[in-house]
Symmetry: C2
């Protein structure tokens, strides 16, 4: 079959279906035929768009992260105060996890727990582009004397990202167990942001 027949709508449908299937069954146990069934296409159709199951996961990751980064950059545009920029970063991170559960599960669990991706594929490039935004917020706050200059930016980033990642992972695992969240995510984000801003405030 000719590649020129490629239909972007169908490609997106396959990616959305794959996210659902990987989130539900786990990447390791999911088969390309499960993805085809969920997307309502023939097994062979998948291979018009993706070379392998791995290639589907990489596309979900890269395109998902690209969307996340674009939304973050757009949201930060109108905010000047580094404290409010950091608060927005926390809210954006946690609401993305909350509102896009299939993507969150693939990014936070399947990709992380896949040894394969740690050695052969480098997710670091996209993650670094996301973290660059956080680095910019912190270093600008330090430059302006609003955030403590004595805390190395890299360590402050580890504290912020580690906090958000831990709370996100907890949230995703709770959802897998179908447990009701104890707090509204906006309230959680505000508490986390208050604690982090308080810790960084000069």
């Amino acid at each position: 079959m000719a590649r020129t027949k490629a239909d972007p709508g169908k490609r997106d449908r396959i990616l959305t279906a794959a996210m659902k299937v990987f989130a539900r069954k786990g990447f390791a146990s999911a088969r390309v035929s499960d993805v085809a069934r969920e997307a309502g296409v023939a097994d062979g159709t998948i291979y018009l768009y993706f070379a392998s199951k791995d290639a589907i996961l990489i596309s979900i990751f890269e395109e998902g992260m690209q969307g996340v980064i674009d939304g973050l950059v757009k949201g930060l545009k109108g905010i000047d105060d580094p404290r409010e920029r950091l608060r927005f970063f926390c809210k954006y991170h946690l609401t993305t996890v909350e509102n896009d559960p299939d993507l969150a599960e693939v990014l936070l669990i399947e990709l992380r727990f896949s040894d394969k991706f740690l050695s052969e594929y480098k997710p670091q490039v996209m993650l670094d582009r996301y973290l660059e935004q956080l680095a910019g917020i912190i270093s600008e706050g330090q430059r302006r004397g609003i955030f403590k200059r004595e805390i190395p930016t890299g360590i402050a980033m580890g504290v912020v990202f580690g906090s958000l990642d831990e709370i996100s992972l907890h949230r995703v695992l709770q959802r897998k167990k179908r447990a009701e969240p104890t707090f509204d995510i906006t309230a959680v984000a505000d508490h986390v942001a208050n604690m982090l801003i308080g810790g960084l405030a000069a």
Copy 2:
């Protein structure tokens, strides 16, 4: 062979050897015979002490965590101020990762990336006993009015543990790449503790 021949020294030697082998080769690729060779015992001897490779990993985890918790409880004993107790917790967590690299790698990487353990074995019991110590430090600080009462203890715990875990994981991965750490671990722990104590301070 009779179980009564069991030799605790030999059992410890097998566990130490297994930690080295799992850290070096990864749990998935490591074989029981690799562990036997590293420990200097015959393959069959391993089975006098452990039913399977999984049982070795569970023992490393449970006994390792028990040692970590005992050291933490002992170290906290002489400290009264909740801020200094939290600082000790940060230092203890990060220096344990630094000083016991094989154990840290098994706890932070092999156990986390092993799907098997997430479903069949529940590492949560030991982790919870570790986290209970942290919960006690934070809630006691809140009770005394030294830490902000408006931050839910569970969220504060997520921020503290997430920060330490992120920085530990970064440290372990750096070491795997044989990269020189940028900061001395005691300095890192102080920066992290300052930020977290600042964020919690009433």
